[in-house]
């Protein structure tokens, strides 16, 4: 069934100029969560790149074993941030996965997931929302059958398919695009477009609303234009570059409307993905230049607020918190100071740093569903770091991390809660 395969082919083959930047120095090892967890070279960035080079050089075919090492990668890009040679690992892995996908050599789990979710739900916001409505119905009525139908389960942290009772509740209100403009409070500084996204408006609707409030409070007209959809990050990560490109084009066309000066997202994963539209669409004659502009305009909400700069809240929120660096904020976007600047600005907030805050929690988009075992081990490690801080509230800046750590608290049976940076900033503003 599997075709003999020599080398990478096609326009989405990993570029040799990227691949051969790796001088196998090994400095990435200690920052790679799967290497830290398994201590196996095969599960390290350097090992995965070596396997890619071996395939590229025609020394080996793409085998299920090799694919298993590539698929065990979280794509957290911690390695990329520490690589002294500047190897664009994220990009290489995305392209490698597209090669695996094109050759039909993905693992069964990933194939199954792709069929229902990546190919169907994500590119189609309406279908996604319908599924979410069904889940919400389930949560209200307890009709378990519906869950299996919806396949939204795949988005949830690993193992949860078997633990439906622990399913995180969907938001009471879904957030969504509209024609309305949320007007700036006080003097208007800027007009921004906010990415609504795929899962976040369904599962973290209040955080989306808080984002709007925080932005308007800081002098922004906020638009959440209709027609936008999922950023395509999950498709890109899975090597489904075609769907991802289509989704990118949709978002470029809908979000970059008249008068929009910045494109804001409160999801680190989406921000990272949108900042890379330029790379994704570099061969698209029609969208290439627009994508460059789009990526330049995109900012994470924390990055944007600190750059404004934001209004320092005056009310006191007396609380000890800890901060979990989302991989796609810390590593992919290299933003670590902005969220801390905001948190430290809130009177009364005591930020207790956890150990290895930027080591992936195991959420990693669809990873928790397709690699449940490793994902759970990483979550355990993360929860241990959180427990050691003796705080009850984890702040982060990405929906995937929020779901994963919530899941961690649930399985611990403890009462911790997880919120976004804008949630606590919004809370402080609300107390003024």
């Amino acid at each position: 069934m599997v075709q003999p395969f020599a080398g990478f082919t096609g326009r989405d083959a990993p570029a040799e100029s990227d691949l051969y930047r790796c001088v196998h120095c090994g400095l990435c090892l200690s920052s790679c969560p799967t290497y830290v967890e398994t201590a196996l070279e095969m599960e390290s960035p350097r090992g995965r790149l070596a396997l890619m080079k071996a395939v590229n050089e025609g020394r080996v075919e793409i085998t299920p074993r090799i694919v298993s090492h590539w698929e065990a990668c979280l794509q957290c890009r911690a390695c990329e941030a520490v690589c002294p040679s500047g190897v664009p690992y994220g990009r290489i892995m995305e392209r490698t996965r597209s090669q695996v996908r094109a050759a039909g050599l993905q693992s069964r789990e990933l194939k199954r997931f792709s069929r229902f979710f990546l190919n169907s739900a994500l590119p189609n916001p309406r279908r996604l929302r319908m599924g979410a409505n069904l889940i919400r119905l389930y949560q209200r009525l307890g009709i378990q059958k519906l869950v299996r139908l919806s396949h939204l389960l795949y988005l949830l942290p690993g193992g949860i398919g078997k633990l439906e009772s622990q399913l995180p509740p969907l938001s009471k209100r879904f957030f969504g695009p509209s024609d309305a403009v949320h007007p700036a409070q006080g003097a208007k500084k800027m007009t921004v477009a906010l990415l609504s996204g795929c899962v976040m408006p369904l599962m973290q609707g209040p955080t989306m609303e808080a984002t709007v409030r925080v932005l308007t409070r800081n002098g922004c007209d906020v638009m959440v234009p209709q027609g936008q959809g999922c950023c395509g990050a999950l498709n890109t990560h899975a090597g489904d570059l075609e769907n991802a490109r289509a989704m990118a084009r949709t978002n470029i066309d809908s979000l970059m409307g008249a008068g929009v000066e910045r494109i804001i997202t409160s999801s680190a994963g989406c921000g990272s993905s949108m900042k890379e539209y330029a790379e994704l669409l570099k061969d698209d004659p029609e969208h290439r230049n627009k994508a460059i502009r789009f990526s330049g305009m995109t900012q994470d909400v924390t990055e944007f607020l600190v750059g404004l700069p934001f209004q320092v809240p005056t009310a006191t929120v007396n609380r000890r918190i800890t901060f979990q660096d989302p991989c796609h904020l810390a590593h992919a976007q290299r933003i670590t100071a902005a969220p801390r600047t905001i948190l430290n600005s809130i009177p009364g907030v005591e930020l207790v740093e956890m150990e290895n805050s930027s080591l992936c929690c195991g959420g990693a988009g669809i990873y928790s569903s397709v690699q449940p075992a490793l994902s759970q081990r990483l979550l355990k490690r993360k929860m241990d770091s959180i427990t050691a801080t003796d705080t009850q509230e984890v702040i982060t800046a990405n929906p995937g991390c929020m779901l994963q750590v919530e899941m961690g608290f649930k399985s611990q049976g403890t009462n911790g809660r997880v919120r976004h940076v804008v949630d606590i900033l919004d809370e402080a503003y609300g107390l003024e």
Binding site: L27, L29, E41, L51
Partner: protein, 475 residues
């Protein structure tokens, strides 16, 4: 030998999950941080000294050579598997067994990562001084094998000055203790000669290292100079003041350009050399000596001098130095790093002659080095995919080594000889010198089955990156 049977026996010792033998997986064990390659027949992850001993004894009986592998960050091919050999790697033996603050020592397993040890003991106000550039990833076992150095070895010495004792496994599986927890031991200093023996004597399974107190104050100086010669004069001037800094590092113009391309380290475009100096000690000491250092830098013609004492600001000054090697990737995809050492006073003339080599071969050479101890790191930049590039690089590299030796220096200061420089050994040592060394190896490993084929010339042409057959064995 029945290899299948051998594998089964290995699995019997360490457990099936701790033996890697599938040819796909072995692809990631054929390299280290150098340009050499060699595919092992299997990789074994033992959990205890006893398992190491049994694995090595079994291999010895089967006539299979063994090499220890830390994390594969070495730069001389030291951990590359010998033909037909297996690797014993230590991801499972990575525990800090004991930190004895009263005695200022730590007992560790060989798989412990250098920086993890340092970070851990800092909680007790102590530090592990040797800090190779790969300290985030490299293991103590590998550090022992290579006698690893690092920027701060200028003041504190290399790994050998920090190892008190170790438990090692010899080629027949015998477990032997070298050195002790006390500073002085009786008999030959086997611990001293084992350190830096590049895995050819045996494999360390437990290591006792000295820890030093964290200094009260640290101050970092960054001086910008118009050219390397002036910066070298500054180095001499500092030394003439009777100052031995904790670290004294330099990067040259080409490196500065590369660094500035990747990240703004704050170096002016026309900077010809950047000098980094770090002082450690009591605040009073750092203040007094610091003033002299700063004056010396200005006196010798620095165009800028920056200083920092707070950790975050010092980190900022180090950014360019620490990212230097990687930044070279922006100029060429590969570099061949020559680890030659010269007497400090020869730095400037030797760098001049290295520049001649660069012109002669038309190979860009960037210099990032430990100026304080004369340990050069000329990086010959190239693209391995160009046919014949590597051969020319090796030839030019040999010429650079000859220059170092002619200036009274030697082949390697901290990376080891390994596969990479073994054919250059005769530049420094006579047949008789090497014969004496081999006598010691023969005493530890009479059958030469521990990491054979390293260090000493055997006339086999050094063929880095020679691709082994795609499938070593069916699995």
């Amino acid at each position: 030998m029945d290899f299948k049977r051998f594998l089964k026996d290995l699995q019997g010792i360490v457990g099936a999950e701790n033996v890697v033998y599938h040819s796909d997986d072995l692809l990631v064990f054929e390299y280290d941080g150098s340009v050499d390659r060699g595919m092992p027949e299997a990789v074994v992850f033992p959990n205890s000294t006893q398992e190491v001993s049994r694995v090595i004894a079994l291999s010895h009986k089967a006539g299979v050579p063994v090499v220890g592998r830390g994390t594969g960050t070495g730069l001389s091919g030291g951990a590359i598997a010998p033909p037909g050999g297996i690797q014993v790697a230590f991801p499972r033996m990575n525990h800090i067994l004991e930190v004895d603050t009263e005695n200022r020592l730590a007992l560790v397993e060989p798989g412990v990562i250098n920086l993890n040890l340092d970070t851990h003991v800092r909680k007790f106000g102590l530090r592990y001084a040797p800090d190779p550039s790969s300290q985030k990833a490299c293991s103590l076992g590998g550090n022992i094998a290579e006698n690893a150095g690092g920027p701060h070895c200028l003041a504190y010495g290399t790994t050998t000055n920090h190892v008190l004792g170790m438990e090692v496994v010899l080629e027949d599986g015998a477990v032997v203790n070298l050195g002790s927890l006390a500073r002085e031991t009786v008999g030959y200093d086997l611990r001293g000669v084992f350190t830096g023996s590049e895995g050819t004597f045996g494999i360390a399974t437990k290591i006792a290292v000295r820890l030093l107190p964290v200094p009260e104050a640290v101050r970092t100086f960054l001086g910008i100079f118009p050219d390397v010669e002036t910066a070298c004069t500054a180095v001499s001037t500092v030394i003439e003041h009777g100052i031995v800094p904790a670290a004294l590092e330099m990067i040259d113009a080409l490196t500065i350009q590369a660094v500035q391309k990747v990240t703004d380290a704050g170096y002016p475009d026309d900077a010809g050399a950047v000098l980094l100096i770090e002082l450690e000690g009591l605040q009073d000491e750092v203040d007094e000596i610091g003033d002299e250092v700063e004056a010396a830098l200005w006196e010798t013609g620095a165009s800028q001098v920056r200083t920092a004492e707070a950790a975050a600001e010092r980190e900022q000054l180090w950014v360019g130095r620490k990212g230097a090697l990687g930044a070279l990737g922006g100029i060429a995809p590969n570099y061949f790093l020559v680890d030659g050492v010269v007497p400090r006073t020869q730095l400037a003339p030797v760098l001049g002659r290295v520049a001649d080599v660069s012109r002669k071969y038309n190979i860009p050479i960037a210099n990032v080095f430990h100026a304080g101890d004369g340990n050069l790191h000329p990086c010959l930049l190239f693209d391995e995919r160009q046919p014949g590039a590597l051969d020319r690089i090796v030839e030019a590299g040999t010429e650079v080594l000859q220059i170092c030796v002619d200036a009274g220096g030697t082949l390697t200061g901290e990376h080891g000889v390994g596969l990479e420089k073994k054919e250059q050994m005769p530049l420094v040592f006579s047949e008789d010198d090497m014969a004496a060394m081999v006598l010691v190896r023969d005493a530890f490993a009479p059958d030469n089955s521990m990491n054979p084929g390293k260090i000493f010339p055997d006339g086999k042409k050094h063929t880095p990156h020679a691709h082994p057959p795609a499938h070593g064995m069916p699995a």
